[in-house]
Symmetry: C2
Subunit: 177 residues, 2 copies
């Protein structure tokens, strides 16, 4: 995972991976069918963990605006804690075989639909005001996941402060009242 995240799937050789874990290249094939499976298993594991974690986090019941804040905080925290897996899951999609790609894509859509449901509910009950729930879903996820591209521990702002600031912008963008 570390090597794929740093150099990219196509640029990492099985020999390098073997060296990293302290065996010879041939021994890797006792644990994985081929290089492609290695990539797919990493991505699948990440998406499963994401959906599991979300399902098991108790959501606020008051209104959709509170649930949106809850989602934003969950998203930032979960993704910040797994920068390598997140990076791979966005960057290496094109290196998946068609079947594997479809499987990962389905999981990603399931996660996105969780946010879309919140936005649609908020629109209906009047606690949120988004011009288009589908576009707002994509826009907010892109914004939140973007934290990973620049945030580094020990910088100007703490993780919690960054989270608060992004939550503020997310709620405003979604017209929370």
């Amino acid at each position: 995972m570390r090597l794929f995240a740093r150099d990219g799937y196509a640029a990492v050789s099985m020999r390098q991976i073997a060296a990293e874990v302290g065996v010879q290249a041939g021994a890797l094939y006792l644990y994985t069918a081929d290089k492609q499976s290695l990539l797919f298993d990493l991505m699948k594991g990440h998406m499963d963990a994401l959906l599991d974690a979300w399902t098991q986090t108790p959501a606020p019941t008051e209104n959709a605006s509170a649930r949106l804040e809850h989602f934003a905080r969950f998203h930032i925290r979960f993704h910040a804690a797994r920068a390598d897996a997140v990076f791979i899951s966005y960057m290496e999609l094109r290196n998946l075989t068609p079947d594997n790609f479809a499987a990962i894509e389905a999981l990603r859509k399931r996660y996105e639909s969780e946010l879309e449901t919140i936005l649609r509910t908020g629109q209906q009950e009047g606690t949120l005001n988004v011009p288009d729930t589908k576009l707002a879903t994509m826009a907010l996820i892109a914004m939140l996941t973007g934290v990973n591209t620049w945030f580094r521990e020990g910088g100007r702002l703490s993780r919690d402060r960054v989270e608060d600031i992004y939550v503020d912008m997310v709620l405003k963008a979604a017209g929370a009242r």
Copy 2:
């Protein structure tokens, strides 16, 4: 550019590139020093074109809120028209040599600082309200560039409608009054 965008720099061979343009692999080296230069020149060309286009677009003078809307529309339009170059410029950064990476990074920072200046001015004059100009810069750019990951011509919404909706969310997120 098309091959790099579709399969990734590391996965595309000089032989494939040669076949795409209708020559043999050896002939490519009459036009480029090596594969790395090919990537760098594509990225450099894209960033130069971006900064040139922005500099040459007349910006509104009334207030920062108007300039933010102008920036958002410019960003979406410019990036939508060059999906391949944008994709490469974000995905292949790690395949640049350190020197080449630094050169591209400097250009990217120059572009980001254009948006940051708008946000800071708006904060001072009171037409915008962002919790942190640096974070808002990163958040808004991530949101706007995200359009490219899902937008396809001929879908549910026209390009102009998508642009309007994103502008609405950008202005709200930046606390435009």
